[in-house]
């Protein structure tokens, strides 16, 4: 049964949350026995900016190129979800399955070509 197998993921998930907490709690214990310095001040808790105090908000408007890359990624990720079931059964099927997938990938390759042509993939 599937649930039983995936129960092990759940177990490993709990352990993997505990794993990084171990050194962090060690660090916390060092602060408890006054072995780790803890005297924060305004200069220390300011963000790192090469010694100059940071002005302005952090968010500036980023270039749309980032969004275009994410867009291409989403489209291809969905394509992957369709292609993996095909890949599993590919060797058991006859030749005509090949044509079906060729159409599918061809349409998406056209999308890639479109993005290429209209310079969506250009990193300025």
């Amino acid at each position: 049964m599937i649930v039983e197998e995936y129960f092990r993921v759940f177990l490993l998930l709990i352990l993997s949350i505990l794993f990084p907490l171990l050194p962090l709690s060690g660090s916390y214990l060092f602060s408890k026995i006054n072995y780790r310095p803890f005297n924060s001040n305004d200069v220390k808790s300011a963000i790192y900016e090469c010694g100059v105090e940071s002005e302005d908000i952090t968010w500036r408007q980023f270039n749309a190129k980032y969004f275009l890359y994410a867009l291409g990624f989403v489209i291809f990720d969905v394509e992957v979800i369709f292609l993996f079931p095909w890949a599993v059964i590919h060797s058991e099927q006859s030749y005509d399955i090949f044509l079906k997938v060729a159409i599918f990938v061809g349409v998406l390759a056209f999308g890639l070509l479109y993005a290429w042509k209209w310079r969506a993939l250009e990193w300025q």
């Binding site: 039983e4 995936y6 092990r8 949350i17 924060s40 952090t58 990624f73 990720d77 993996f84 990193w123």
Partner: protein, 440 residues
Amino acid sequence: MSLIFSFIPYIKRLIVLILILFGLAVGFILSKALFDLSIYSNAVFDFMIDKSSYNVAYFSSSLIGALGIISFIGLVLLVGSWVERRMIAKFQIRVGPNRVGIFGLLQPIADAIKLMQKEVLVPAVADKLLFFIAPVAIFIPAILAWAPIPWGPNMTYLNINIGILYIFAVSSLTVPIIFFAGWSSMNHYALLGSMRTVAMMVSYEIPISLSLLSVVIITGTLNLTEIVLWQSSNSIWLGLLIPFSLFTFFFSSTAEINRTPNDIAEAESEIVAGYHIEYSGMKAGLFMAVELGNAVLLGALVTSLFLNGWFLFGLENYIPPYIIFIAKTVAIYIVLIWLRATLPRFRLDQLMNFAWKMLIPVSIINFFMIAIETTIITNLDSSKYIIYLFAIINIAVFVGLIILWSKIFKIDKFSPEKIAPIFAQKIGGIKAMEGTKSVD
């Protein structure tokens, strides 16, 4: 008498030799007892099912496997950092850590204690919740992705029939965590670094998935154990059969785990330290540790997908299979260290163009080629020999592609003599350059 005295200078070596032989003997005996670790898990299961319910038995036997994976990762994080520093030092002709313990072996522990003692600074403007969660959460994908790795014949912690997709999906969760780490610091450098890193990781996930796709097309399964068994039953390593997929997977994964040559995440010269600039003390240490753990994970993945897992020409019957597996993994890890010591960092625009304009189109063509080959293999009876034919064809195509690329990027056979001394020519010193073999 003088004969005996003449041996005295070699007595240290003799003792070392005896110790090595003794170690081999002990190792041989131990390897018989520890040949298949899964029997211990099964023994616990059988023991507990008599005492209590099925649930407790299942829980305790899987807990052993989980603890095994976790302790292996812990060991790797400790030993791996030492290995990496020593190796890098060897490449740069220095000694490396050699003060703490013998050969500096205790250096990682000293480092860990030092990191724990450091003052933890949290920026006043930071988003405290996400700032704390990010370094803890980044371990979750890194550890969960170890679950379906086949260590030996019966030693798979999570034997599911969608293993590859599982690893791919779980490791894709790293991307938002890295973004949150950068964003919650509220720092220009961190935010810019995380945006760049996310854009790069996202771009390189597509070539990874396409290269995994060609593995799946050939083997017809997503289960990692079955992929390893397929390679041994057809007696060919997938890395030889589909070299382009191996290259794509390896190169793209170095981008995914932020290692040289693709370590855009921590481009010191451009964005100070990248997304984890505001982290200090143990939290910064966690980010470094996860990078190291991911490098070893990449080694394990390449081993089981392309290098035939725990099989090594019949040697797996004498040595415990997981030892072979770990040896191959470490070999890949050493290749990664080698790359780190050798190659400079690529520029971000070069990397993005390489992903979208080279790797993705060529990967699509590649997996179509492999699909055609698979159809031929399955429809012909004499599949045993035709696979070798296709391996030769694929390697030839791969080498041809490399030559084509080097033509495109105008790398002329990597020989320094052929590069014209442009600068020397410009300042009129070409006469003086005659007869010398130098490069400008």
